[in-house]
């Protein structure tokens, strides 16, 4: 199981892919209710064992059936949610009564969970409960099923001691009340159950002189400020004797409570193995519920992990889809099929190459976290390593440039890929070095990865001159709608002042509208020669000039660049 940490760490191999695919945008909506489920969510586990993933998807399926079969009796679903939300973490050791409370609360809600499930769900999630007798014992103490105190019913001696404590408490309260009444009668001071008071100094002097004398209550007097003194009633002989008796009984009570607690610890201790089983059931139920809710919200599907190829039909990159919807833009899901281990993707600037990489990693991570995929078709396999190399806003290693970081990551990935089962996305690899060397390097890297069919490595690049090899597939983004783009570019060149008035958001929206976010197989040179088209006439264009123009670059510069380009190709 891969475990990306919460923070991006270069030492953690999956974290860069997780961040690049913006998985947290969906993961933050994965909300288990129990401490066990929350631990799992925090771990951001990416599973690499097919049998584990099969169990996870079957659990989610069962939870879906449970919810759908109970659609008319939502109270059952509410019960499930309610009891899950009240499950505490079982204590790691038995130290005091708080641990007994936690166990009681856990067992009480756990048993209720079982009662809220149907038979097939109980079986699916392995629900068992062997602790009726223990729970009955724990239920002796507490006003309800979720609270706990050491009740007198646990121990007959405890009951007798508490009766004694109650009687003495009443006598002490009466003694105190009578003492306060005497003080009020004699000196006109009403304590109103307070431990001490301040009184004018002259009254305090009078009290000090009389207190403790025959017929007068005992009172301690201290100075407070220049006009007031602080007085505090002292217990009389009878009160002292009652306090002594009270302390003795409290000691006995504590001993009896301790004995009760010890017996409960022993009973609880005998069932520790069961608790382990219950905790697993709780976690499975909790995660299945949380996954089901996400599945329902986003229409997530179970992926097919048995495919030697990667086949994506209408795959949605949810974070971008949401952004597009919020911005009133059209979102185009990804459809793409890849049969070879290396995939190279060319395309326009702003043409969606990076989004394709992000979508692929997103779908794979969604699949291997067990959430399911937002796609009509997602055929893939399980990868033990999911990686990303490119600009991710990561801190650079000391002394390494951007290129150095890429090579460092590549070296690491090559080691992983030797073992196979690596899915990796390279975004604009080697873009920061000279184009001749970059193309040579990229060609070699593609060739290296193409040798091992256990891996799947995707490269998004502008380097059209890289060497084509049989072990790799070459795709291109459909790019700009040329007819529309040219018209807008012409208009823009002609009326630059109007063009400049458009703000960046409007320009991006305009580019999005004329960009076709579709992955197409690259046309070979032979194909292009046989059936010439507007597309093939564009040759190796990345639509850079058109995009620059649409983004509002000075028309004079665009014109000059166009001229230079035409001369070069001529």
């Amino acid at each position: 199981m891969l475990k990306p940490e919460k923070s991006v760490s270069p030492a953690n191999e999956a974290s860069s892919a997780w961040t690049f695919a913006d998985m947290d945008a969906v993961w933050k909506e994965f909300k288990p209710l129990t401490p066990y489920g929350k631990d799992y969510a925090y771990s951001r586990a990416i599973h690499t064992d097919l049998s584990v993933l099969a169990e996870i998807y079957n659990d989610t399926e069962q939870m879906a059936k449970f919810h759908e079969s109970r659609a008319k009796t939502s109270s059952e679903q509410e019960k499930l949610t309610w009891h899950l939300s009240r499950i505490p973490r079982l204590p790691a050791s038995l130290d005091d009564s708080l641990d007994i409370f936690l166990i009681k609360k856990f067992l009480s809600n756990y048993r209720a969970l079982g009662e809220s499930l149907d038979e097939s769900s109980r079986q699916r999630f392995g629900f068992v409960f062997y602790s009726d007798a223990l729970l009955e014992e724990l239920n002796k103490g507490g006003s309800d099923s979720e609270t706990f105190f050491i009740a007198s019913s646990y121990d007959s001696e405890l009951e007798a001691v508490r009766i004694g404590i109650k009687e003495i408490s009443e006598k002490l309260a009466l003694n105190r009340k009578e003492n306060e009444e005497r003080i009020t009668r004699i000196w006109g001071v009403d304590f109103k159950n307070r431990e001490f008071l301040t009184v004018p100094a002259d009254l305090a002097m009078k009290i000090s002189a009389q207190a403790g004398q025959a017929g007068y209550p005992a009172i301690a007097v201290e100075s407070f400020d220049d006009s007031y003194c602080l007085i505090r009633p002292l217990p009389d002989e009878a009160a002292l004797e009652l306090q002594r008796q009270y302390a003795m009984l409290r000691e006995k009570e504590a001993i009896r409570e301790r004995a009760v607690l010890q017996r409960l610890f022993e009973k609880v201790g005998a069932e520790l193995d069961n608790f382990g089983i219950y905790a697993k059931v709780v976690e499975r139920l909790d995660l299945a519920r949380a996954r089901y809710l996400l599945k329902k919200k986003y229409g997530l599907q179970k992926p097919d992990f048995a495919a030697p190829i990667m086949d994506i039909g209408e795959g949605r990159f949810i974070p971008l889809e949401k952004e597009c919807i919020a911005g009133g833009r059209t979102y185009t899901p990804l459809t793409m099929r890849s049969e070879k281990p290396a995939v190279v993707l060319f395309g326009s600037n702003m043409g969606g190459k990076t989004i394709v990489l992000r979508t692929v990693l997103f779908l794979q991570l969604m699949a291997q976290t067990g959430l399911g995929v937002p796609a009509e078709v997602f055929k893939t396999r399980i990868y033990t390593s999911i990686r990303y190399v490119g600009d991710n806003g990561q801190d650079l290693h000391k002394g390494l440039s951007g290129f150095g970081m890429e090579i460092h990551a590549l070296t690491d990935i090559i080691e992983t890929a030797r073992r196979g089962s690596c899915l990796c996305a390279f975004d604009e690899f080697a873009h920061s070095t000279s184009s001749d060397e970059a193309e040579a390097l990229l060609s070699a890297v593609v060739a290296w990865f193409a040798r091992n069919s256990e891996n799947r490595v995707l490269f998004a690049t502008h380097f059209r001159q890289i060497v084509r090899i049989d072990g790799a597939e070459y795709y291109t983004m459909a790019g700009l709608d040329i007819e529309r783009a040219e018209k807008i570019v012409r208009d823009s060149l002609g009326t630059d002042s109007a063009g400049k008035e458009k703000n960046l958001i409007e320009r991006i929206r305009m580019i999005n509208e004329m960009m076709r976010y579709v992955v197409c197989p690259e046309r070979s040179r032979e194909q292009s020669a046989e059936t010439p088209s507007r597309e093939s006439e564009r040759g190796n264009s990345s639509d850079a000039l058109a995009v620059a123009s649409l983004l509002g670059l000075e028309p004079e510069i665009i014109q000059l660049a166009t001229k230079i380009l035409q001369e070069k190709h001529a």
Partner: protein
């Protein structure tokens, strides 16, 4: 004058005050006694086991109370056969009636006289063990131990209210520690202070400034959002932050009044250019004032009617006349 019960019932009452012996624990106890007088239960929480409580009103007035020894429990239950003595400052010990709810820790729960029923175990722990909410099943005392974390305090308040364990809550703690709990509905702040003649002017200035801060307007996202110049400050509004924002002429939004760390002059200077709003507004319940070497008449004259009408309790330690309040 003791506070009347009506002031507190069905509210989250935040009792605070400057430094040691400001009378906040006495005020809280008196308030609880008033609520008990109306046959209502209370919940009592604190922030931390306050160091200033040990100071009290002189060592003689607030002796240490031995807990735990009678129970024969160690701080970790049955870990040892011997007993330990946890000496608590008396002010951290409260007398509870059956049905009252309080926050304490595992170590002190077992020494509580009030036969506590455990209602919940809160996340985290204090230096004194895991924190728990408990309910007294008989009259008796228990040590109040608070959480060091504001968010756990807010959590405890919400659990008490959601589960309807109590509707009247008292929180005894420092001003900057309780404002998360203040964001719970129906929360109100009481400010306790003890004042001598020499400190009188300074306290009156503090009281005026506190009222000024508490009356800051609530930021309303629907009506104020239109002002593009709104600046949200997640931390504290300190002198350096104020310096950075000195030329702003829009809205400055702070979490609540307690996040303003400016002295009154700097605050008024800053407020002259920017409109300061709060995201959580804390209602003000009133002042509790204990006078030392100054008479009530003299203090009232210096404070003026605007402040004195906000005083809900005078000399909570005082016996004799003027002790009673309306229920």
């Amino acid at each position: 004058m003791l506070p009347g019960a009506r002031l507190f019932i069905d509210s989250v009452n935040l009792v605070t005050g400057p430094g040691a012996a400001s009378g906040k624990t006495t005020f809280t106890r008196n308030a609880i006694a008033a609520v008990h007088g109306q046959n209502r239960s209370v919940a009592v929480l604190a922030v931390g086991l306050e160091g200033d409580r040990a100071a009290g009103v002189g060592a003689g007035a607030l002796p240490g109370i031995a807990t735990g020894s009678s129970a024969g429990f160690s701080a970790r239950g049955f870990a040892g056969a011997g007993s330990i003595k946890n000496t608590l400052p008396a002010a951290s010990k409260f007398l509870f009636q059956p049905g009252d709810v309080f926050m304490t820790t595992s170590a002190y729960l077992e020494a509580a006289d009030c036969q506590p029923e455990i209602l919940d175990v809160l996340p985290g722990s204090s230096a004194l063990g895991r924190l728990a909410l408990a309910r007294a099943r008989r009259s008796g005392s228990a040590a109040l131990v608070g959480t060091e974390h504001n968010e756990y305090l807010a959590l405890a308040v919400s659990r008490i209210l959601e589960n309807q364990w109590a509707s009247t809550i008292f929180i005894d703690g420092a001003l900057n520690r309780i404002t998360q709990a203040a964001s719970v509905g129906n929360a109100q702040l009481f400010y306790c202070a003890r004042v001598s003649r020499s400190e009188c002017k300074s306290l009156i200035d503090k009281m005026r400034y506190l009222l000024e801060l508490l009356s800051l307007p609530l930021y309303r996202s629907d009506t104020d959002r239109g002002e593009d110049k709104a600046v949200f400050i997640d931390g504290a509004l300190t002198d350096s932050v104020a310096d950075r924002l000195c030329n702003i002429d829009g809205i400055v939004v702070v979490r609540d009044f307690s996040r303003i760390f400016l002295d009154p002059q700097a605050f008024r200077r800053f407020g002259g250019s920017a409109k300061i709003c709060v995201r959580n507004r804390v209602q003000f319940g009133g002042f509790s004032i204990i006078l030392r070497s100054i008479s009530k008449d003299e203090f009232e004259k210096l404070a003026g009617s605007e402040l004195t009408e906000k005083i809900v309790s005078w000399n909570t330690w005082e016996g004799g006349e003027n002790q009673n309040a309306e229920a």
